[in-house]
């Protein structure tokens, strides 16, 4: 695999097309879990894990099941069910094997099911790496990578946001701006700052 393509996907997914700051996917957990850094990190790690695994599973299902049977129009319904089932499964497995891990990551898993970022990345993968019902060369690899880095971008935005919001707790934000509005303003300014990465080429 050529290094430049990998770097391009990484920079694009983490900074330029950051899922939260530029594609508006996964805003709900972004606002809900970004009040403190610790849960934000846990949530972000859980999202990276679920996104990468979902990308692997949905890519396989799309390529080996939906395309051969000509039922690609069932994409949305299949993907959301597979993701929901997978998340449930992971939750049960984690609870069974490691209670500590369940306490730090597991409680965020149900939230991820309805996280549009996970479904979003799987649909984007299908849009980006299949041309006329055929996977492009390296499609599986790129899809997995894209999902992984989208998760990393999500984690990054979540960590930064949680740091800023913890600091904002101590400042005298005008009453009508407190909470959600100021979080949006921060996100907007972060997104403005990340525009510095636009046009990155390797």
């Amino acid at each position: 695999m050529d290094f430049a393509r990998i770097m391009t996907i990484a920079v694009s997914m983490i900074f330029i097309n950051n899922f939260i700051l530029s594609k508006f996917l996964g805003l709900c957990p972004f606002l809900g879990v970004s009040k403190e850094t610790k849960p934000a990190v846990s949530m972000g790690l859980a999202v990276i894990f679920v996104m990468t695994c979902s990308a692997v599973i949905t890519w396989s299902i799309y390529n080996y099941l939906l395309i051969p049977f000509g039922i690609t129009y069932l994409r949305t319904i299949t993907f959301i069910l597979v993701i929901a089932a997978f998340v449930q499964l992971i939750e049960m497995v984690i609870r069974k094997f490691s209670l500590a891990l369940y306490r730090s990551l597991g409680i965020y898993l149900p939230l991820i099911t309805t996280n549009c970022a996970v479904l979003g990345v799987t649909i984007l993968n299908v849009d980006d790496f299949f041309i006329q019902g055929k996977p492009i060369p390296g499609s599986f690899f790129f899809a997995t990578l894209q999902a992984f880095f989208a998760g990393v971008g999500f984690l990054l935005a979540l960590i930064i946001m949680s740091g800023i919001r913890e600091r904002l707790e101590l400042t005298d934000v005008p009453p009508s701006m407190q909470g959600i509005p100021i979080a949006f303003i921060v996100a907007s300014l972060m997104s403005l700052a990340f525009m510095g990465f636009s046009g990155f080429k390797f």
Binding site: G163, L170, T171, V173, L189, A193, G196, F197
Partner: protein, 322 residues
Amino acid sequence: MPDKLIVSTSPHILGCDLTPKVMWSVIGALIPAAIASVIIFGMPSVKIMAVAVFTCVACEALIQKLTGRAVTIHDGSAALTGLLLAFNLSSNVPFWIPLVGGIFAIALVKHAFGGLGANVFNPALAARAFLLASWPTHMTAFTRPFAADAVTSATPLMMFKEGKVGTLVEMGISYWDLFLGRRGGCLGEVCIIALVCGAAYLLWKRYIWWQTPFSFILTTGSLCWIFGARGYFQGDFLFSILSGGLILGAFFMATDYVTTPLAHTGQVFFGVGCGVLTFLIRKFGGYPEGVSYSILIMNAFVPLIDRYVKPKIYGTAKAVKG
């Protein structure tokens, strides 16, 4: 119930009389560069600076009146924001660019967060990023220095980015030109010697510390020297420092009290981070210059840096920095 204990973010020590003193000193330190910009770019420069400063001060006064807070325009922070914003603009922008930028900086970046000391991002730089995203044609049309008829010209970094010219000789300018400010660019960034004089004054008075600017400049310069050109160690160290807005950004905007780390170790991290980002944007990014974006991005990381690199509370000899 009135609280006796007020929990607030840093800077704590900057009390009633220190803030104006520092702010006005920084403005004073920027005066040489302001004069230089008038000499280089002529009257448009005066107009832009006046509009930006006036807008910022008026906007701050208006917001503080409307929200029923004490009006603090005499502390000079709004005026400083305005001046820095003007310094980040090209000399032939229409008058409403500094106007809109000033309102954005003061209303959205500063007072939405609760005013001085609460803002996370540098208001002037955020306003510049906003203007650049909104009106890119106005923001990237630079005037040639000493040209009465407002001929547009590219900045040295833009020429370098386009890849047509690789060396100073090919651009037809010397290090001396860069040092004095005989080049296209934003109002405040061109005259290096004036900026350095101002910065030296602030360093001498200990209003700013050397950690951030020096780590920032050295990181950018070294990275551009090592990786900036085709082969390793072929880049131009001096050119990378003197062109663009590095000196202005490193000394006057990456040292802002509110939006940068408190501890000296944290400041070094901040400076190195800015330097790396600036280099990456210059080398790989879509924009020719990355100083303002890199400072903005690092601003977002400041709460995290501050958490993991705690400032020394006792034992620092001079705690002016707060």
